[in-house]
């Protein structure tokens, strides 16, 4: 007997802060139960998103309160025209596929948006026959073409070309094999139990003119307007301008921290930029190029309340994309296990499992949430003295910023009232996932809500850097199937990876030798180590070399952070014209392939991630030599895979030539950190 889910269960409590806090989940649920808005964000917050640090200058609590009291009789229209349909609620419930969700949630969403006057994207997984009955849906053309036929293309209000998503820009969709049960396998035409992987790029879209070609092809074929969904990446302004020129009718921009059914943790934590950075720069660029009029901008990624949506519209969007909030309204407890198929709320669970979502209950919750958002928006607009949502679009002048620095404020086009730092840095304990050392692969997670140093405390400045992912202008490269070269040439040797292994254990040295990784530290096996004859310095220590190996080791103390020291040394050596004769290595408490990537882009040839190797060393010390060796091999392989994953996301196929010293591939969420490390702030 399958259990029918038609009530909420307790949300997960957690030690480390995330965007989807228990408090925020409860606020969404309250809206979903009462259809009454939850009003937040009227005072600036010291920590958190930029949105939380922005307030409407002239929004008086008394007029807001007054407006809320008679919200249904206010003469305010928050609707938008959506390609032949008039939406009452300016929300797009974004693109969760049949397969990622277990069927009933797909139906509940389509039903709720059609009833409440919002719209939903159905994702890439084919058209569920029950979903097809509802009018307010948008179908998707994605890189795997799962379930694609004419019938699908001709359903709904518009066609959405999915280029990327905020949780994993430059990485394709992924439905884990466990969730590929019979019905899903038939619809997607792949074997039961195999991972349904969508290629990272569309293999017919490697450039902006290729996108234009596909937009026109789909319009010719479907007779419908075509939207393009992209992740908010470092160079989102170029992407948006290109999309607008492609003759597409609009763009859906998905910010960092947005939800996902399955994404590598390292991509969630490091790729792309938050929506509050992306939206204003996109709006500014489109206006400057004369492309804003008649082009729909939909912005999403960690948006939950009516005030969030009002602010993102003021930043420059026409309407908002919400997906996680919709799942929270339908019972998500934020346990981050969507990829396992064991969703306790019967939303992302495996089809045919022990639980099933009650469609009526869930769709009613979502209708209430949508109505609550509509009411809240009406009250906010009224209090701002407006009668239509379109009056608010792009009104950055109505906002004032607190606790960010001037460079970020200027980039986002908002007035700075009181300065501060975006970066939220605190000593935090690092959780090392077992997949690294036990399985040799990058750990996978479900759901978003985590942007280090922003929604969640970060350990060090490095964490505030965002890695370039590419959308449309060039193709990302899939590292598991395609060629990404991470070999490094040092002093006549050729290493197969820049992940350098500390020689604390013979087993680690052997693993490094087996996989062609460099070794740091003398060892009893007599295997060559990179510090032989090298100069080892503390971060910030002065040095004058013209050739050889320089190792910056943060265990020696130093006056600046290791990341800053790497960037300075790289630039210094380049100025002196000797950079190509010196190898820069850095040793410090680094844990992931993203740390390796960022340090390389700042100028390091080799990276010694002492953090993870120390952890693994402690963890496996009781095992025999061969067993320990395998754990170290796994760790080297997993970090190298992560590095390749991140390189591939940006279309970078060569470590030694393309990545090392290429600061253009990084952006900083924080202005001070940007200056210290010699990179641009996000949005530039």
């Amino acid at each position: 007997m399958r259990r029918v889910i038609k009530s909420y269960t307790e949300p997960v409590r957690r030690a480390v802060s995330e965007f989807w806090s228990e408090e925020r989940i409860r606020a969404v649920r309250k809206m979903a139960e009462t259809a009454l808005p939850h009003i937040d964000g009227t005072t600036p917050s010291v920590r958190g998103r930029v949105l939380d640090k922005l307030i409407f200058k002239d929004l008086r609590p008394s007029s807001l309160k007054e407006a809320l009291a008679r919200v249904d009789s206010l003469g305010v229209d928050v609707g938008v025209d959506f390609f032949g349909a008039r939406l009452e609620v300016p929300l797009y419930v974004g693109d969760m596929s049949f397969g990622a969700l277990s069927g009933n949630p797909n139906i509940a969403i389509a039903k709720a948006v059609t009833e409440a006057g919002a719209v939903a994207g159905i994702g890439e997984g084919g058209l569920h026959p029950e979903v097809a009955k509802y009018r307010n849906i948008v179908v998707q053309w994605a890189s795997a073409r799962f379930g694609m036929d004419l019938n699908l293309l001709r359903a709904g209000l518009a066609v959405n070309i999915k280029i990327g998503q905020g949780a994993k820009p430059g990485i394709g969709g992924h439905l884990p094999g466990r969730k590929v049960v019979d019905v899903i396998a038939k619809l997607r035409k792949i074997p039961v139990g195999s991972d349904a992987l969508s290629p990272a790029p569309h293999h017919d879209i490697y450039s902006i003119e290729d996108l234009a070609q596909r937009v026109k092809a789909l319009r010719d074929l479907s007779g419908k307007p075509v939207l393009v969904k992209v992740a908010a990446v470092n160079k989102i302004s170029f992407v948006a301008v290109g999309v607008a020129r492609s003759s597409a009718s609009g763009i859906i921009i998905d910010g960092a921290g947005a939800g996902t059914g399955a994404a590598p943790v390292v991509t969630r934590d490091n790729l792309g930029i938050p929506i509050d950075y992306a939206t204003p720069v996109v709006d500014m660029w489109l206006r400057r190029e004369g492309l804003r009029a008649g082009f729909l901008v939909i912005a999403g990624g960690m948006l939950a309340t009516p005030m969030d949506i009002a602010k993102i519209v003021a930043m420059g969007a026409d309407m908002a994309n919400v997906a996680t909030a919709a799942l929270v309204a339908m019972g998500c407890i934020m346990c981050h296990s969507c990829h396992t198929g064991d969703c306790p709320a019967a939303l992302t669970n495996m089809i045919g499992g022990p639980k099933v979502l009650d469609i009526e209950w869930a769709s009613q919750r979502l209708v209430n949430y949508l109505v609550a958002v509509k009411r809240g928006l009406k009250a906010i607009l009224y209090a701002l003295g407006m009668s239509k949502l379109s009056e608010l679009v792009g009104r950055r002048d109505l906002l004032e910023a607190y606790y960010i620095d001037g460079h970020v404020a200027e980039t986002l086009g908002v007035e700075l009232r009181e300065g501060g730092d975006v970066a939220w840095i605190e000593p935090v304990k690092v959780h090392v996932h077992r997949e690294y050392y036990e399985e040799g692969r990058p750990p996978i997670t479900g759901m978003g809500g985590v942007v280090p140093g922003y929604t969640t405390p970060a350990r060090r400045p490095l964490d505030l850097l965002r890695i370039e992912a590419t959308q449309v202008t060039r193709p990302p490269v899939d590292p598991y199937r395609e060629g990404i070269d991470v070999t490094v040439r040092v002093d006549g040797e050729e290493y197969y990876t820049p992940v350098t292994v500390p020689a604390a254990d013979d087993a680690a040295v052997l693993a490094a030798y087996a996989l062609g990784a460099p070794v740091y530290g003398e060892n009893s096996l007599g295997i060559k180590h990179v510090d032989e004859g090298a100069v080892v310095i503390a971060p910030g220590q002065d040095i004058s070399v013209d050739s050889g190996i320089v190792i910056i080791d943060e265990r020696l103390g130093g006056s600046i952070t290791a990341e800053e020291a790497v960037s300075r040394l790289d630039i210094e050596l380049r100025r002196r014209g000797v950079r190509d004769r010196v190898c820069i290595a850095v040793a410090g408490m680094f844990y992931t392939g993203a740390d390796v990537y960022k340090l390389a882009a700042l100028g390091a040839d080799l990276v010694v991630p002492l953090g993870i190797f120390t952890y693994v060393h402690e963890r496996v010390r009781h095992l025999d030599l061969r067993a320990r060796m395998m754990r170290y091999e796994n760790t080297i392989a997993a970090l190298t895979k992560e590095l390749k994953l991140l390189m591939g996301a940006g279309g970078v196929t060569n470590y030694y030539n393309t990545l090392v010293g290429n600061r253009d591939l990084l952006r900083s969420l924080d202005g001070k950190i940007a200056r210290a490390l010699g990179v641009e702030v996000a949005g530039r």
Binding site: E209, M629, A637
Partner: protein, 575 residues
């Protein structure tokens, strides 16, 4: 981004600028009104410098006022100081004794309106129509071609190596003025490398970065160049992954290169052999010679049926206007013939029944989301043919470009000649029969159905990374395929040997099975590969398709008593 075209005269006969403008117009869909340009070989007695400035200089050979308060200024070293940059404040876009460049904000035809390009004549030309990517489309100096020293280039692509290349130019070669357009670094690098190494090695260095660190280009690029000198050099090269299309054409008199085969066909006429360069290939021409690293792959079927007199003349339709007209006629008549097709796109998309016969070169993204009927293409087809096909039949009496039969769920595609990269990527049902050979990534992510590569009309080996990421279906390739070419092959022979040495060093005796498992885990290897003759059952299954191939193309391909490499997905990948 964009459409690029180049032509070089082997005989020394002059080529009219009109040819270049016509070829660019065929590729109109690749461009926008945001930029166009040409470069030509045009020797001058003195070094000629051309600049865009915001102020009209007092002394200059020629000054032309452009919209937006910009001046196009020409100066000669004879009547100026050595440093034109010092004398006039502006952006120098060419400074060479041998080359001349014209660029505009606009369409290719605006080059003629402003500068009269159609009247010019030269032995070597480059042309460009622009779809801006990484810089605004508002100022003419962002338009291509870009030039450095005696080099001019046009580029289609977007470099991920831009920041790294810029470091090299800034710190090693001491260049300081950049417009911010990624493409210009190619001109600077090619010029510096050419001076050091000569043309061939310079091109190799740009593609592979063997000697000079940070000179390697990364990301998509198709590049055409001219290098000035008493004897001009013309060349074309494309990135190692073949992320951008680049076709070349060679006749007795001329060498052509373009983003689309149709552009060459339109201006070259009959005697030109046209084929696509593969990833990492290049072609160079100077004097009467043509050489490089490439293989000629033209494979036009020689006994094409005559063009019917009542056929539709595609030359009367724009690149995207023909498709809806054909759809309409198919629904009315069920049988449509079209001639003079020259890169027209989307032909037969969404086709459910009927017969469509096409003479010419079929443009990108045709035969997509087809569920029934037949398309016969008497000529080559460009990229993305048969995407998301659910049923029906497509026969190509020539070669196809990249990504044929992507995510095909059913139906049959027969190709007389060879396919480019990623043939049958995500193939999930039905059959894809290739009479010749195929490029890299054949059957990537394949989920089902059958791919049969006969190597009958061309016995070239299939490219690298066959079946990378496949989870289902079967690939049959005639002949023995090197195991290292199958899958992503993370664990090369070298690493296996290293691994064994490490184990010996540790005094560990690993049995070969567990070693193999370990390497599979670390490098995600998962293919089942057999090299043998086909079983009776396999022959029975495949024979109807081979028979169909032979009937369509009047060939005699046979699969019995032939050794095949048979590739299937092994243990399921876990990522």
């Amino acid at each position: 981004m964009c459409g690029i075209f180049g032509v070089f005269s082997l005989s020394g006969e002059y080529i009219s600028g009109n040819i270049v403008l016509r070829a660019l117009t065929v590729m109109r869909e690749r461009g926008t009104m945001h930029g166009a340009g040409v470069a030509l070989y045009s020797p001058s007695q003195h070094v000629r410098a051309k600049l865009f400035t915001y102020n009209s200089p007092r002394s200059a050979a020629e000054v032309r006022k452009l919209p937006g308060g910009i001046y196009d200024v020409t100066m000669y070293d004879s009547d100026e100081t050595d440093d034109t940059r010092g004398a006039v404040h502006g952006i120098v876009y060419v400074r060479s004794k041998w080359l001349d460049i014209y660029k505009v904000i606009g369409w290719p035809k605006d080059l003629d309106r402003v500068y009269g390009v159609s009247e010019m004549r030269s032995v070597a030309w480059l042309g460009h129509t622009r779809y801006p990517t990484n810089s605004p489309g508002g100022l003419p100096y962002y338009s291509h071609p870009f030039s450095a020293g005696d080099v001019a280039i046009v580029h289609n692509g977007d470099l991920s190596s831009y920041g790294a290349n810029l470091n090299l130019l800034r710190y090693k070669f001491r260049y300081y003025n950049f417009t911010g357009n990624d493409s210009e670094v190619i001109a600077y690098l090619l010029w510096e490398l050419y001076k050091r190494y000569g043309v061939e090695k310079a091109v190799e260095e740009l593609m592979h970065g063997r000697e000079i660190r940070w000179a390697r280009l990364d990301g998509p690029y198709a590049v055409l160049f001219i290098i000035g000198g008493p004897k001009p050099i013309f060349g074309a090269f494309v990135d190692t992954q073949h992320f951008r299309p680049l076709y070349v054409g060679v006749s007795r008199e001329f060498v052509y290169a373009a983003s689309e085969a149709a552009a060459i066909k339109a201006v070259g006429g009959g005697g030109v052999e046209i084929w696509a360069l593969r990833g990492g290939e290049y072609i160079i021409a100077a004097g009467g010679e043509v050489w490089g690293h490439y293989k000629k792959r033209d494979a036009l079927y020689h006994d094409l049926p005559p063009q019917p007199p009542n056929a539709i003349d595609a030359s009367l339709y724009g690149a995207t206007e023909l498709a809806p007209a054909i759809r309409q006629l198919l629904s009315e008549m069920g049988h449509v013939s079209v001639i003079n097709v020259m890169g027209h796109r989307y032909l037969g998309n969404g086709m459910e029944s009927g017969i469509l016969k096409i003479w010419g070169i079929v443009g990108n993204a045709s035969g997509n989301v087809m569920s029934g009927g037949e398309i016969h293409i008497y000529g080559d087809a460009q990229d993305d043919l048969g995407d998301a096909m659910n049923g029906g039949l497509v026969a190509v009496y020539g070669n196809v470009g990249d990504t044929v039969a992507q995510a095909k769920r059913g139906g049959e595609i027969y190709i007389y000649g060879s396919a480019g990269n990623r043939a049958g990527i995500q193939h999930r049902g039905g059959v894809l029969v290739i009479g010749g050979s195929a490029g890299d990534y054949l059957g990537e992510y394949m989920g089902g159905g059958t791919i049969l590569v006969l190597r009958h009309t061309s016995d070239e080996e299939v490219g690298r990374k066959i079946g990378a990421g496949m989870v289902g279906g079967t690939i049959y390739i005639r002949g023995e395929v090197d195991r290292e070419k199958i899958g992503s092959a993370g664990a090369s022979k070298a690493i296996t040997e290293r691994y064994l040495r490490a184990l010996r060093l540790a005094g560990i005796n690993a049995d070969p099975g567990s070693l193999q498992d370990n390497l599979r885990r670390l490098f995600s290897l998962y293919h089942e590969v057999e090299v043998r003759e086909l079983t009776e059952e396999e022959v029975a299954t495949l024979t109807p398709y081979v028979r169909k191939f032979n009937t369509l193309f009047n060939e005699d391909a046979s699969i019995e008593r032939e050794v095949f490499t048979i590739i299937r997905a092994g243990a399921l990948p876990r990522e």
